[in-house]
Amino acid sequence: MGHGPTGPAGAGARVIVAGLAPFTEWLTAGLSAAGATVRLADPADGHPGAVHPDDVGRRPVGAALDDAARSLGGVDAVVHAWVHPELLVAEPLVDVPADRWRRACEGSLDRIWWFAQALGDRVGHWRPRSVVFVIPTAGLSGLTNGAMLATVAEGVRQLAKGCATQWGDHGTTVNAVATRSTLWLPGPGDAFALTDAPVPGAGDPAVDVAPLVALLGDPAASFLTAATLVADGGLWRGL
């Protein structure tokens, strides 16, 4: 996203952000502070629970991406940070009703898959430097009473790797940034009682995630792809 190795990562970049508010708003604030121009692209804006194909299928996702790209005059980076609100509710898997699993867990994977498909239709034309999927660390660590969240997150992480191997031909890197699930929660509550992180607190997308997203779009990171950067205050320490 930056114009040279000496400039601030993110300066002058044209970035499309899709995901769940207010996370996307905070992320946008952080990227804007770094000098990026950001457009939100999500046909489900204002309807964060919508996951039916008629609401957010591949075609409307593509249309939203096209609108954002036109507005920006080009695309340097695309960021996806969707988490279904129902995934943030702590609940043992044995108590999860089938319809909620279908709606929240499988519905989320459907939605993110369609996003990747719509982006795949465009990446050869746009040739963005960077695509980033922001996910909860739960996919790496597993999460007690958060099985749906972890299921989605680990699926998305492997989607990012698959896309990385395809879109490298276009000069596009694809990475994942894993962070705390609390960053998607509008309040200070911690539904999953994550208490053993070296750095305490819920975290702030603008401060803790946006700089990494900007860095991944910088030419200095052009050889970094199919990776997972973990920015969760040391919660997950698997690597």
Binding site: P92, L93, V94, V96, A98, W101, R102, C105, E106, L109, D110, W113, A116, Q117, A118, G120, D121, A138, G139, S141, G142, L143, T144, N145, G146, A147, L149, A150, T151, V152, A153, E154, G155, V156, R157, Q158, L159, A160, K161, G162, C163, A164, T165, Q166, A226
Partner: protein
């Protein structure tokens, strides 16, 4: 899973009958022992390939094996091979995309053998040909989701009370595609990764009840892979070149043995892990 969807539910128990010659199921033979004596193991998608290999390996270690397949008749040769070699088996017709079928299969296992110790979810829909992410048909995606992700949920919920009662084990068959993504089968990578995320969480949730949850990522010479090799021999050469052990795993001897490990007390302190049995083709 292959072929057409079936209406599930009927149960049969082919415990009699002669041996069936099925070299593709038992080319090198299972390792025999008593690691699973008295235990009951249910394997989904077990009419052939990896699922059948796991069934034969578990039976050779003394397990009662419950073989599920979308079409019961397809699983009969596997069941008959088990019986011919002195084992105990039953076949349950089960389309894993139907929750009622999964519930019925579990209940049938419990009713017949008195409990369930190990649930192995192996069934997977047709993966389809290699494609870019944007070219994967919606039907392929839906099949992957239903058979891998949706069915994992069903298998986990249906099996849990029985596994908890006997401090049992849940195993998901995954793939290295779920560990490192996949260039040509992106949907497959997504659903296999999703199963790993689920397994890790269930390992945390169910550990206090003594239930272990793990994944097994195999490289196996299945009938489908043999067909692929016949159509494109270069693929076999490439695969062997990047496999240090220079062979593709036998479903029974190589992959079944790994499943026996995860099913048995040998792995009593192992949970939340992905065991990669690929002859060294993938190294963490």
């Amino acid at each position: 899973m292959s072929g057409n969807p079936v209406s599930g539910g009927s149960v049969s128990s082919p415990e009699s009958g002669g041996s069936v010659s099925s070299p593709e199921l038992n080319s090198t033979g299972p390792l025999r022992g008593n690691l699973l004596d008295g235990r009951t193991v249910l394997v989904t998608g077990a009419a052939g390939g990896v699922g059948a290999g796991i069934v034969l390996a578990c039976a050779a270690q003394g397990a009662n094996v419950v073989i599920t397949a979308r079409v019961a008749d397809d699983a009969a040769p596997v069941a008959e091979t088990v019986v011919a070699e002195g084992g105990r088996s039953m076949v349950v017709e089960c389309d894993v995309t139907r929750r009622a079928d999964v519930d019925r299969a579990v209940e049938a296992a419990v009713e017949r053998f008195g409990g369930l110790d190990v649930m192995v979810h192996n069934a997977i829909g047709t993966v389809g040909p290699p494609r870019d992410v944007g070219e994967v048909p919606e039907e392929t995606w839906r099949t992957m989701m239903d058979t891998a992700v949706g069915a994992s949920f069903s298998c986990a919920q249906a099996a849990y009370p029985h596994l908890a009662a006997r401090r049992g084990s849940l195993v998901f068959l995954v793939s290295t595609a779920g560990v490192e993504g996949n260039r040509w089968l992106p949907a497959y990578g997504v659903v296999k990764g999703a199963q790993r995320g689920l397994a890790k969480s269930l390992a945390r949730e169910w550990g206090p009840a003594g239930v272990r949850v793990n994944c097994l990522a195999p490289l196996a010479l299945t009938p489908a892979m043999e067909r692929t090799y016949r159509e494109n021999p270069v693929l076999e050469e490439r695969l062997l070149a990047r496999t240090p052990l220079r062979r593709v795993g036998d479903p029974t001897r190589d992959i079944g043995s790994a499943a026996v490990f995860l099913a048995s007390e040998l792995s009593c302190y192992v949970t939340g892990q992905t065991l990669v049995a690929t002859g060294g083709g993938y190294m963490a």
